[in-house]
């Protein structure tokens, strides 16, 4: 990547992860719900492209990597890992998260955020007030807690949209 002032081609993250290309029937099917396509991508951009009060971009990408790893969403996980490399994030931290070694991380704030992520992805029913208060005790503001919850919840959505479209595309191939 260079720093020329040319905008990169807009990539639809869901299409890219399935993957879907414009010559596929499932790509065209998806466009019948074009507002959903646009709002899904804009939600992704709101999570990752813009500044988010209270959470660094590296923290958001580490949460995403962990969430996708726990969900066995490998192509999405690879995207977020690439994003971390692009941010020049600490490679040792990225590698530890990729191996699921959350407890080995030195930063207690990051450890708390990723533990919360794993629980919210896998066992949302276990959410309780104490978990939110523990994160607040690590210095997360109310806007940061809302952003973190939205991010994890959005990733749950993104993983399922990709999984569903992948199955749809596969069914077309076998029809």
């Amino acid at each position: 990547m260079t720093n020329l002032s040319v905008a990169p081609p807009a990539i639809d993250v869901v299409d890219d992860a399935v993957p879907l290309s414009p010559d596929q029937p499932t790509w065209a099917l998806r466009r019948q719900r074009d507002k959903v396509v646009a709002a899904t991508q804009s939600s992704h951009d709101a999570m990752f492209s813009h500044a988010v009060e209270g959470l660094s971009r590296t923290e958001r990408l580490l949460v995403a990597l962990h969430a996708c790893r726990v969900s066995n969403a490998t192509t999405l996980a690879a995207r977020y890992r690439d994003g971390l490399a692009g941010e020049n994030a600490d490679a040792a931290v990225t590698d530890a998260v990729e191996r699921g070694e959350i407890d080995s991380l030195a930063d207690p704030r990051l450890r708390a955020m990723l533990s919360f992520t794993g629980r919210l992805i896998e066992r949302p029913i276990e959410g309780d007030r104490a978990a939110i208060e523990a994160l607040a005790a690590q210095g997360l503001s109310t806007p940061a807690l809302v952003a973190l919850s939205q991010l994890i919840a959005f990733l749950s959505y993104q993983v399922r949209v990709v999984a569903g479209l992948k199955a749809l595309a596969g069914a077309e191939a076998s029809a």
Partner: protein, 198 residues
Amino acid sequence: MTFPIRIKGFTTDVLKWKPWLDVVNVDTATPAQLAALDEMSPQARSSPYFLVLAHQPEILLQRSIAFNAIMFAPGGMPRAERELGATVESRVNGCVYCASVHAQRFEQLAKRDDVISQVFEEPATAGTTPREKAIVEFSIRLGAEPGKVSPDDILALKAVGLGELEILDLIHSVALFAWANRLMLNLGEPVFPETAAS
């Protein structure tokens, strides 16, 4: 009026929701926060849930657009069945509040509640017709084990008559409630009528 269903901790009673975080004050909200609330619904300005989410207005705005497009777009899967998918996902995730709201919407749209009792009792076997059973089964699978959803699951939906746009609508609805449930379950708690009255 039918009586509310109350099974295994799930209900079609009208519940309230109590946030664990402070809410945005509508009187001092920014234009971006108000725009995000209004994009969601005319009632959002008085909802503690949306007033918590308004702390991140751009994220709420995009989520509101996605929510309304998925649940209300014309054509495709009948709206009652989208609400059924949302209710099943909420039941499986244990989100009592979302299950109540969307079970009520199913009842309003479908004019019946038989399948709601079944979903609350035991989602794995719920459904009053082969089509409904297939919708419920798929919703459970995509909700609980997205990594295991396969083309065979799509073919099972097609075999009971679902068209591709209907299947896409169901995928979006279930995925949307994977999102919604995790907010409702982690930023606050449902308040039951008995508790509210005491």
